[in-house]
Symmetry: D2
Subunit: 362 residues, 4 copies
């Protein structure tokens, strides 16, 4: 198990889907930062189940309790511990899961690795663990606002299956994204996407898609070659999320179709700053931010939980069939938007503090 992330702004998470709760310790948070518990709660509410008609109806309020590290709402420099209790526990609902491995879930691999697993609701492999990430990132967000105001981190649903949103990373706003329950940045795609999710759910099936994310106003100089390049840490952050299958930055996979002459981003002086005329690099060159918008995309597979009978095996090694059952999201993407933003925010905050250690220019 490795439930730590970050080097200087470092988080340690815990919690199974069905147990006492989930939570996080943030170690390395700078002192004297005002932290609003409302903002933490706001972000948790953006990811929680039951928030709209197209997400899982699991009812959990997901209330964050801060146990340490703050005094009168200001950080002390000591570890900040946040706990969110589990309240909607129905272990009985998962009896079949204890006996049979759900296809494309982590049941079998946890057993293979640990020789034991928490069967109820997926245990540690449940998406419920992302609460810890979102809570920590809500604190990180306030650190950024305090020590380097103006950095924006904005994600949206870019596609659901072949339904592709037309969104300009340069201009898209949080208001646009949050104005619709599917959290896409293209108003024209709201209805088609919602329809698709409802249809697929009605069929007991599920869909995936792509989330796009932009980081605006990132200062040049963040990222630590050779191994902790900014895109490398973003890639790791995103691929550590449940259900992700791919990551690309800037021109990504489609950039492989271009020639160098087409792909290179020419430099120009603009308003006294070094800028690029195009941004196929996606805001990062040589592992270090160049001051342009950082733009990346993350692929999410269709939810593994479906309402069909599926071939599988028991934990005793016998072929069997699994009945479709349980609460789930037919499409995780709307709820994954704040989680993608959270991981990007954690990466940025850590790298900003790492940069300060070697070169206090920010």
């Amino acid at each position: 198990m490795s439930s730590s992330f970050g080097q200087v702004f470092r988080i340690h998470t815990f919690g199974e889907s069905h147990g006492g709760g989930v939570g996080v310790i943030i170690d390395g948070c700078p002192p004297r930062i005002a932290v609003s518990q409302e903002q933490i709660q706001h972000e948790l509410d953006r990811r929680r189940p039951g928030q709209s008609e197209i997400v899982t109806p699991r009812k959990e309020a997901d209330i964050a309790e801060i146990l340490s590290g703050l005094q009168d709402g200001v950080t002390l420099g000591s570890p900040i511990a946040i706990v969110v209790r589990n309240t909607d526990q129905r272990p009985g609902a998962y009896d079949e899961m204890a006996a049979k491995y759900r296809p494309s879930h982590a049941d079998y691999t946890y057993d293979a690795k640990y020789g034991i697993r928490s069967a109820s609701g997926g245990g540690r492999a449940s998406a419920r663990e992302t609460i810890s990430r979102v809570a920590a990132a809500a604190v990180a967000r306030q650190v950024l606002d305090s020590i380097h105001p103006g950095i924006e981190v904005l994600a949206w649903v870019k596609s659901i299956q072949e339904l592709n949103a037309d969104v300009d990373p340069e201009t898209v706003t949080a208001e646009t994204i949050e104005s619709n329950i599917v959290r896409t940045g293209d108003p024209a795609m709201v209805e088609p996407m919602i329809e698709r999710i409802k249809t697929i759910r009605g069929d007991g099936n599920s869909v995936g898609g792509v989330i796009e994310c932009v980081i605006r106003n990132c200062p040049p100089g963040l990222g630590e070659p050779i191994f902790d390049k900014l895109e490398a840490d973003l890639a790791k952050a995103m691929l550590s999320l449940p259900a992700t299958k791919g990551f690309e930055i800037g021109s990504g996979f489609s950039g492989t179709l271009l020639t160098g002459r087409e792909h290179n981003d020419a430099f120009r002086m603009i308003d006294g700053k070094v800028r690029t005329l195009t941004n196929r690099s996606g805001g990062i060159q040589g592992g270090i931010s160049n001051g342009e918008h950082i733009v990346f995309r993350v692929a999410f597979k269709p939810t593994a939980t479906i309402m069909s009978n599926q071939e599988t095996v028991t934990s005793d090694g016998a072929n069997t069939e699994l009945q479709g059952r349980g609460r789930h999201d037919a499409c995780v993407l709307p709820r994954a938007v704040p989680i993608v933003e959270a991981m990007a925010t954690l990466v940025l905050t850590d790298h900003l503090l790492r940069q300060r250690a070697i070169q206090p220019i920010f």
Copy 2:
């Protein structure tokens, strides 16, 4: 700077393109493993310049010297230091680079981050640093062979621009890949790909593409949720490589077009083992290997160095033009194949040792 990778089998690298040399310390290597210097040299030869008519003609023998950690060819358990001297240094050839930022290179971002940079040949941002990775992985390979024989790591050129190789990860062999200088796994694509590279080079231009990699016979149980999931560490490893823009595993981005019913990998007992009937998961579920082939793809952008004049700025902040010049690869993919294998091998070895720490079942 963060030039360390891995948690238990841990490497620390150093070296600029033009300086005393490049190298690596491997810390955490198990004792009493026979290490052949020839195998290290063999892997370095696979990545070195000048190995064929389609790669950069830079002439460096890249001879590895082992300074510590071995006794009569057997590991002592102490750090293994490997140094490769730089021999082909022509600082004069890089005068223009010192004054002007090369588009889509790391010149500007290194200056922005450190306030200084090694202009000659790209310095630390040169692909020459991958020598350290390949040398370390050649040792890791021998560790794998000793403590868990049979794991295969095999990469090949999947595509160059739109030229797409048809390769079966299940059956492709090292012999097929190494039999052609472009290192693709599809004999039918060898000539078209070589032609494309020669044509593009003749035009002073460059191309990119996709490398695919398979890990065969990986035991189930490797990977450390939540953050050090196996695919997360692979993604970070690949995105830490120069010129990479994307990573996907299993069904990847195209898997987002499917429904859950189509995408899920049903389990079946086969020969007494838990197996999946399809492998859209790409050999990893919940961040842990499931015993199926691990299959992933990495996007490489077209080489940034081209033989055209390009708009750019000077390090003093004036608009200017950069002349095309210098030695380079018109397509880095043939030489990147052993580097992708190297990073995958390092990730696997580290996770195998990490698993032994908590659960000595292997």
Copy 3:
């Protein structure tokens, strides 16, 4: 702030003296270890205030709640989170502390470092944070019992001021130590030590002393040169405890009076094992355990809180006087005994797992 300890068996702690609570996440705990909550509580009871007439009367039950990582009392391999609520909070009692720096406490240095501090009861610098260590070590103890039974970790009060206990590390028992409230291993010193503490407390003064600790049946081979030598990690563990001023192992400081001829531990084969005839090395040679008893001593200064008026300064930088007040231990050593054992147990468990990663011989 760095509130993490260990490399493989890794703990992350949090909590101020007066806030929601204190606690710990244990990451890297092997799966399928039976963990008894009673044992955790038993160790917490050994360190808690109010347990006898010679310790601080602060009344806190210090009840451990386990939030994650266990299923039916067995470890899952996922992070184990333990929380102990703060219940006896009297912020009002600490108003003077907020304004004035207590001599030889951490008030001033926390302000100097963070520009803010939690004044109530010492905040993060309170000995209350050791609850997290003791709880984590109680789990570690059960890991040791499961994967390498027979290792004993036993500490006792060796001296209080000049009162020196005569204890044989080879034969002293837990029963002897726990049979007296001062936790010394020498029955003849129980009454003198208790008398000293009572007298000094009656005078509003405080005393320090030395705790000695033995690790029996430690297998040879633990410790990771060059920097993570076993004695180096023990030294760090002990000096990270509040109020400690020194650490010595084996012959320690008095060994500097001997010549090499007197000091060397001759080897002999005994019962088929490599043994030493003397143990001035203290069970560790070259940073690695040699199978002999590991014996070390830790110096604790006299408690900084005393009932006298003391010269000091205000946080505004004015000279002033501090009134003696508040609850405290006139001598921390009886309660520090389980804490020293806890840190030694954490070091051992981590090194045992680290050794398994490179060499699965245990």
Copy 4:
């Protein structure tokens, strides 16, 4: 093996006593620091054998070669690799050592841990590995001079056996210490100490002693509770050195004889600064520097190599006798002085950079 030290200013060392060489990679060094190779060489010369009539006559020039990380003598921010070749190799001289375990050396424990060892000259356990530490610290020293000038780190021989130097940490100078080959700070003890070493060497015997170290002008605020307290990291640094058996800071073990009323350091405003009237805390309170002199002592056991026949066992498990032979120091302390300074300098530099990450006040 763990050959890494530090969190932000991080070093990775390698090398056996008899092999290609020893060396270090420094990762995390701030950019644009002028580094003088002469200063590195000067420090290596202070620790090298053969420098005076009272140290081992082993003749090695110990010339440092810098392979990376510098450009025209200025740091690039990339890893700095330094290699020192081994030149005086006489493997033949160590045949007996391969067969027999030297008492109080690491021969047996390396075998127990790794199942293999480098017998020649002690291999990785040789004091020759401290070259890496000294070279890295010489760079760290220049970083300190650049980003926080004025911090002094000064060590001296405090005692050899019962010969105790009378030295005032507040006023002792490098000139005094370096003016005598035994490196004590008390001119009156120079001759007695030299005589003692010569006499003991003439007898084929060895002696140990205590080194004291002061850090002057350390800014308040360095140290990272709870586990990376400044004294905890200093203790680990010192106990990781060969032949060390104890560490104490400030009042240390003798402070346990005092009462709190005698021991507490009263605060006073002096010249507008918060100061303490006494310094029993040794410059650190609650794990954080308070601006007073940091004073600590390290116990070194008598050298294990002596010229007498000693009882021991063979690596095959038979009782035998070891002949006294080989080159060695009858007293390691004069050469250990720069090594103690080196480790203290590394700890300080790392903590200074760590502090900048969270709070850029320095």
